[in-house]
């Protein structure tokens, strides 16, 4: 899936303006100092402050494509710096720059002075020698002095001291070295003024570049990848909800969203054998004919297929349950229907969104994804919100309504199915009638009857209502929807939003959950005494208060373990502590301490204190 391309597409606008800025500043360096004004001006280091938003994981890709484009079109000298790589001394920062291009450089003391000398030799060398060198082979229009671009990937993390010193040093060389900085900023641009004092920030000529906000970014991704019939793979409402809420509540990272989408895709094809049919229509139809008997049985067991069977006549039902070939024939028809359903669903969804998204208070959601999710979950027309949206629409003024309808018609234009074309015709017809009725409006203003416009308005809304009822039915209503829809949101949530603490507790209180050892299987509430030592110790400690007496704990442990060994409760050494048990106990307790459930306390020497609450 070409999701990566999409991401680049999104950043293009910002990157283009950034590239333009860098080109301009490098050319202004070359213009030299013959101009009075540029001679008089204090030399500032051209700096681009690139505000990228808090979704730090996404930044890497942006910076990578930025430096690639820079290297291609502006200058071969581009360094990206990460704060953690240059915590100590700023001079090390120059090293990658030098190392990448010139090899025989003495690396004893790298300073900007050496960088400067190196730069001079490099630029001279390339322009005295014939233009057959590597520079031209990359395809740069030969510039006299390609700028040195230094990208600070995460400005917030750089220690202010290092940054200040680095800028001061660089500013001493700015007249000879065409340096350009790019600051990657995750929060707000005012962070520059917080970290740098005026004496330092006055050395920089900062220009601001704001990238798309990550919510807009997400909206575009959803629009291009999910709200389209192009890709056969679909997400159910719950799964989409999980992905979106991870995005909104936790990380704002589009990259993680896409990763989640890819995981869902993988899980779907891994867990659902019938996903062979989840591909383009022609291929899917080809696959149907190759289905084995087992596959057909799987189809027959699909809930949506069973519902479909129940709706058929008794004769058909028998056929559908016994005759494999008949099932295959029906499947072909159903799959084609499913594809048609998708082709109609998305345009109508967009139209409904256009109509409702401008209503006050957004009864059906501001974003199209919200509308999409509610359509996926149940019949959207049964919602109260839908009814209220319709009443609001019935009160809409004429100009607004007409402009909305025109937008809808634009959306429906590229529709290919017969139904969509019919809808488009009908809509265009309505629009023309509207414009006519607007002219007649003035005359009928006085009459108390419903005006022409009002009648038309009702007609339009009736029409849309029927469209919604016809095309926006939830996918569960479609037979064979399981083929395309991935719906196990719990799996996805478990993978993407891990809860380490809950897992530890599950492991300790119910070892069967992870070990799958039949001897550990227990009824609810009871506890197998054959469980690992740490589980027994954990279970026993739940019964204690804030302070735990170690000796009592040990005795209880010994009793449980003796029961597990099958000893006779009446015998003398039942529950007796021997060296082995003692050692096992100590080990389990220290493991529990390591996991952070208990710690030693100074209040009583032979006690430990609990760090968690509750228990039995």
């Amino acid at each position: 899936v070409g999701e990566l391309l999409l991401q680049e597409e999104l950043n293009r606008k910002v990157l283009d303006s950034l590239l333009e800025f860098i080109r301009k500043s490098s050319s202004s360096f070359q213009r030299g100092t013959d101009d009075w004004r540029s001679r008089m001006r204090a030399h500032e280091i051209p700096t681009a402050a690139l505000v990228l938003g808090v979704n730090v994981p996404d930044h890497d890709m942006t910076f990578q494509s930025l430096s690639e484009q820079l290297q291609l079109s502006v200058s071969p000298f581009v360094v990206s710096l990460q704060a953690k790589e240059c915590a100590g001394q700023c001079h090390d920062q120059c090293e990658p720059e030098q190392g990448s291009t010139s090899v025989n450089l003495k690396r004893v003391h790298c300073s900007l002075k050496t960088l400067h000398d190196w730069y001079k030799t490099v630029t001279e060398k390339t322009y005295t020698s014939t233009p057959g060198e590597k520079r031209t082979s990359i395809g740069i229009n030969v510039q006299q002095h390609p700028p040195i671009v230094v990208i600070f990937k995460d400005l917030e993390v750089f220690s202010p001291k290092v940054l200040q010193d680095f800028i001061i040093i660089c500013s001493r060389y700015i007249e000879q070295l065409p340096l350009i900085f790019v600051f990657g900023i995750a929060t707000a641009p005012s962070v520059i003024q917080h970290t740098l004092p005026h004496s330092v920030s006055s050395l920089l000529g900062i220009e601001l570049f704001q990238s798309l906000s990550c919510t807009q970014h997400l909206a575009t991704v959803i629009d291009q990848v999910i709200l389209t019939s192009e890709f056969p793979f679909k997400l159910s409402g719950k799964v989409l909800q999980v992905l979106v809420s991870i995005f909104l509540y936790h990380d704002f990272s589009v990259r993680n969203f896409i990763k989640g989408l890819q995981l869902a895709l993988l899980e779907h094809f891994h867990s659902q054998p019938l996903s062979v049919l989840c591909c383009r229509k022609q291929e899917a139809l080809g696959h149907i004919s190759k289905l084995s008997h087992q596959d057909v049985e799987r189809i027959q067991q699909l809930p949506s297929f069973m519902r479909y069977v129940e709706q058929q006549g008794p004769q058909d039902q028998v056929e559908l349950l016994t005759n494999d070939d008949h099932v295959k024939e029906v499947c072909v028809k159903l799959l084609i229907d499913l594809h048609k359903y998708h082709k109609n669903y998305y345009p109508i969804l967009r139209c409904l969104h256009v109509l409702t998204s401008s209503l006050p208070k957004y009864p059906l959601g501001k974003q199209i994804r919200e509308l999409h999710i509610s359509c996926l979950e149940k019949n959207v027309w049964d919602n109260e919100e839908y009814a209220s949206a319709m009443t609001l629409l019935r009160m809409m003024a004429k100009e607004e309504l007409v402009s909305l309808l025109q937008k809808c018609s634009v959306i429906l234009k590229p529709g290919k199915t017969k139904k969509m074309r019919a809808v488009l015709l009908r809509l265009d017809d309505l629009i023309t009638r509207f414009t006519k009725s607007l002219l007649e409006m003035k005359e009928s203003r006085r009459t108390k009857k419903m005006s022409q416009f009002e009648i038309l308005r009702d007609e339009v809304l009736e029409f849309f209502d029927s469209l919604v009822r016809c095309h926006l039915a939830p996918p569960e209503s479609q037979p064979l929807y399981e083929v395309c829809y991935y719906s196990s949101s719990a799996v996805l949530r478990r993978h993407l939003n891990a809860t380490p603490r809950t897992s530890i507790q599950t492991a300790l209180s119910n070892p069967y959950h992870y070990l799958k050892n039949e001897s550990l299987r227990t009824e609810d509430g009871t506890f197998s005494s054959a469980a690992p030592d740490i589980c027994i110790v954990y279970k026993l400690h739940l019964e204690c208060g804030r302070l735990i007496n170690l000796y009592d704990w040990l005795e209880a442990y010994a009793t449980v373990v003796s029961a597990a060994e099958g000893k006779d409760p009446e015998s003398a050494d039942y529950g007796k502590v021997d060296e082995l048990k003692h050692a096992r106990f100590i080990q389990a307790v220290s493991e529990l301490e390591f996991l952070g459930f208990i710690k030693s306390t100074k209040q009583k020497t032979d006690h430990v204190s609990r760090l968690t609450w509750g228990g039995c």
Binding site: S201, N497, T499
Partner: protein, 442 residues
């Protein structure tokens, strides 16, 4: 005009040229010349020159040394992250490119002295050599023996050498507690308004008369002198705004003598410049473009104060703010349902009664942060790994700061590093009334 610089041993015309290049610094330069004496004479071992930014310290020294053909080495201490770099640069400029190779990989001070002596014997010089150390305050952070050694380098290397230290800080802040050789102190006072006027007027635009430029500088100083006396910055501002100043002249509406009209034209622009380009809210290039186009003001950097955060990050930040600014003992009152009444006055110790916002954020443990977080966030949140990772990403965004070593895995402590305005804006977006939960505003 410039007083005559007189010093035997130097050519007359060179001295004259120097005095022309150093306007308003006659006293200082003649004093320096007197200290330096004739080229062959030994000078005082070390001279300490201090004065504010852009008071001509480096300019005077460099012009003197350069114009009078005196051997010297100049090193900016910011650049010298290691001693080796410093020594290397000194040797490089005094003895030529080969000399630096004699130093070992990470040379000590005695290495430097040894190499210096060795080179001195090889090529003995009659003239006094000078080592200029710019931003000398950074020497204090390097090895403890470095500053005292440089102050008496003449004795150590037994050569005719003088070290000149330049700094913006007074000598009292330098004096090591072990004591050292006292250098000669020389103060460069700030330029007065008249002096600024004189210096700035000197670089007039070639296509306009000197008087006009001088008038412009006068207006400029009238606006900016109260906030900025930095010569460098003022020159920059003059260059940026001169085009606007002569705009009416260019279009022929006004002639050069009507200074009042010119003043009326430029004054609002200068005022605006003070708020924007001087503070580097907009870059100089943007400022110039804006002047050309008139319309479409560029929004400054601080106008973009808004930060978007994920939903739970917002609550984590709110919880962190509460934990930082509320005394821990008041948590019961804010986050327990049946807390009972607590009287503010009797409840707290004396030092807790002062406003916590005046005292600044206090460190808090992770446990407390999470406890507050779970009670302020309205829905049930699973303690998932991403909640924890959000805390660390807040730290990297510098919205929280970790107290103590960051290798402390067990019970880390944090501080909230955002302002009240910021947190108010954040809590408004999640419709959480943070003021109700702040002890200071009770």
């Amino acid at each position: 005009m410039a007083g005559q610089l007189l010093q035997p041993g130097y050519e007359e015309n060179k001295l004259q040229r120097v005095s022309k290049l150093l306007p308003c610094r006659d006293v200082q330069s003649s004093m320096l010349l007197a200290l330096m004496g004739e080229p062959e004479q030994y000078s005082y071992p070390s001279i300490f020159i201090y004065g504010h930014r852009a008071t001509g310290k480096s300019h005077v020294i460099h012009t003197l040394l350069k114009e009078l053909d005196i051997p010297y080495a100049t090193v900016t201490c910011v650049e010298c992250v290691s001693l080796g770099l410093l020594f290397e640069q000194v040797l490089f400029s005094l003895f030529g490119p080969d000399s630096a190779t004699l130093l070992s990989r990470s040379p000590s001070l005695s290495d430097f002295v040894r190499v210096y002596k060795q080179l001195c014997v090889q090529n003995p010089a009659k003239q006094t050599k000078y080592i200029v150390l710019d931003r000398a305050e950074l020497l204090r952070d390097m090895d403890a023996n470095l500053l005292p050694a440089f102050l008496r380098l003449q004795e150590l290397v037994e050569d005719n050498v003088t070290v000149i230290l330049l700094s913006e800080i007074v000598w009292d802040k330098f004096r090591p507690n072990t004591g050292c050789f006292e250098p000669l102190l020389l103060h460069f006072p700030d330029y007065s308004k008249d002096e600024l006027q004189q210096i700035l007027s000197e670089d007039s635009h070639p296509s306009y008369s000197t008087e006009l430029y001088s008038a412009f500088i006068n207006i400029l100083l009238g606006v900016f002198y109260s906030v900025c006396r930095d010569l460098r910055e003022l020159r920059h501002l003059a260059a940026l705004n001169f085009a606007k100043f002569v705009e009416p002249l260019e279009s022929g509406k006004v002639n050069e003598s009507e200074t009042h009209k010119l003043w009326r034209n430029i004054e609002p622009h200068l005022k605006k410049a003070m708020q924007t380009v001087y503070l580097r809210e907009v870059s100089s290039v943007q400022w110039e473009q804006q002047m050309e186009k008139e319309a479409g003001a560029v929004r400054g950097l601080s106008a973009h104060g808004h930060v978007e955060l994920p939903y739970y990050s917002k609550f984590l930040l709110i919880a962190a703010y509460l934990a930082s600014y509320n005394p821990a003992r008041t948590d019961r009152r804010f986050f327990l349902k049946h807390h009972g009444k607590i009287k503010k006055t009797n409840f707290l110790k004396k030092h807790e009664k002062t406003s916590n916002h005046l005292l600044g954020p206090k460190p808090f443990a992770l446990d407390r942060l999470l406890a507050i977080f779970y009670s302020v966030v309205d829905s049930r949140v699973a303690p998932s790994a991403s909640v924890f990772s959000q805390i660390s990403s807040l730290v990297t965004l510098q919205l929280l700061s970790q107290v103590g070593h960051n290798d402390q895995l067990d019970a880390p402590k944090y501080k909230c590093a955002v302002s009240l305005d910021f947190i108010l804006a954040i809590s408004r977006t999640v419709s959480f009334d943070i003021v109700k939960y702040l002890y200071d505003f009770l």
